[in-house]
């Protein structure tokens, strides 16, 4: 039989273990989720940056088309040439951000950006040549200008297609990270429910058994001691429970035996005295008989 101290130690140890497990799980999953959330945000930011680049690339194409539509109109042509150059400048700035010290882009992203940069440069070079040729009257009309820039335009498709694909990749990446965060949260929920159920079951069982196991033997012993104090010393004390209560019960039983022995001797002495003095009735205790 376990001592009261051991029982309580076991109970508190179980709860301590459950608490530690809960803490460890929440800590692990919240840390993992925090990392995933920051990666989700990063993927979203990168997809936004790529979207801005793609929009600027499309603008470049539109200005180029407008430029060729108004190939015969020097004013409008100059306006679209200027717009084209603005967008080109923005694209160059955007691509330069891939290589800044605080850049969050991966090596693979940086390599892709280099390819897009080459594609943009090739397109810009082609457009500038056509622009000069149109301005100098070497190329006349929209169809001729369009034909002249065809190669450069084809090279710019690398940029346009590449950014479109990469936007999708980043969006999918962000979606995957979000799914993992959701999965983590679901796992936390599952583990917490499971641990709570375990704690409730253990707590319930202990609630039903421990108080009874501690208080039961003590109240039995109290009853026996009350009996002895009232003079009923013939009933042996049955010992049940942990070592603490058992030790106490053994001591009380020893006292009961000693008390009973003393009373028997007192009674014997009384009888002997009575016999010596005559027939005086004895007051023998009922319990001793």
């Amino acid at each position: 039989m376990l001592s009261v101290r051991s029982k309580l130690t076991i109970v508190f140890s179980i709860f301590f273990v459950v608490l530690i497990a809960q803490f460890a799980l929440v800590y692990y999953f919240s840390n993992t989720s925090a990392a995933l959330i920051s990666r989700t945000i990063q993927a979203h930011e990168q997809s936004n940056a790529l979207t801005r680049l793609a929009i600027e690339g499309q603008k470049l194409r539109r200005y180029e088309k407008e430029f060729f539509i108004y190939a015969d109109n020097p004013e409008r042509r100059a306006k679209y040439s200027s717009e084209w150059n603005d967008s080109y400048g923005k694209l160059k700035e955007g691509l330069a951000l891939f290589n800044t010290p605080r850049s969050t882009w991966s090596q693979s992203d940086k390599e892709k950006a280099q390819t897009w940069n080459k594609s943009l440069n090739a397109y810009a070079s082609g457009f500038n040549k056509v622009d000069v040729a149109v301005n100098n009257g070497f190329i006349n009309g929209t169809i001729a200008a369009n034909k002249a820039i065809q190669d450069a335009k084809n090279q710019f498709r690398v940029f346009l297609k590449g950014t479109a694909v990469e936007i999708n990749n980043k969006v999918n990446e962000a979606r995957d990270f979000s799914s993992q965060v959701e999965e983590n949260l679901a796992n936390i929920q599952k583990f917490l429910i499971a641990l709570s159920v375990v704690a409730l079951v253990i707590g319930g069982v202990l609630l039903l058994t421990i108080p009874r196991a501690i208080a039961g033997p003590i109240s039995e012993l109290t009853e026996s001691v009350v009996d002895i104090s009232k003079g009923n010393i013939s009933r042996p004390i049955t010992v049940r429970g942990g070592p603490e209560v058992k030790g106490l019960a053994e001591s009380v039983e020893r006292l009961r035996i000693a008390l009973k022995g003393l009373m028997l001797r007192m009674h014997k002495l009384q009888q002997e005295r009575n016999q010596g003095q005559g027939n005086i009735p004895s007051n023998k205790p009922k319990e001793v008989a």
């Binding site: 042996p236 020893r254 006292l255 035996i257 000693a258 009973k260 022995g261 003393l262 001797r265």
Partner: protein, 88 residues
Amino acid sequence: MDIIGWRNVVAGALAERVGILSDIVIDETLEEMGVSEEEMQIRMLGVFMKHLYTKLPEEINRRQLLFEVRNSLMKEYNLLLARNSQKG
């Protein structure tokens, strides 16, 4: 052979079961044997045990208790007691 301090050894062993009754039981046994505490010798311990048996409460395991008393005495005064008490 005198056995100094035998009473403490016996009373200690008896007290484990009968508590404060142990000294009274020893006194009664000595009185029945007609010897004093100081006169007790190893050879007389066997007889002492027999008388002691009758003085102990019936509700305890008297044989077991006497066995424990005997063991305590043997431990205190070595194995000489076993041989001499058997003779007594």
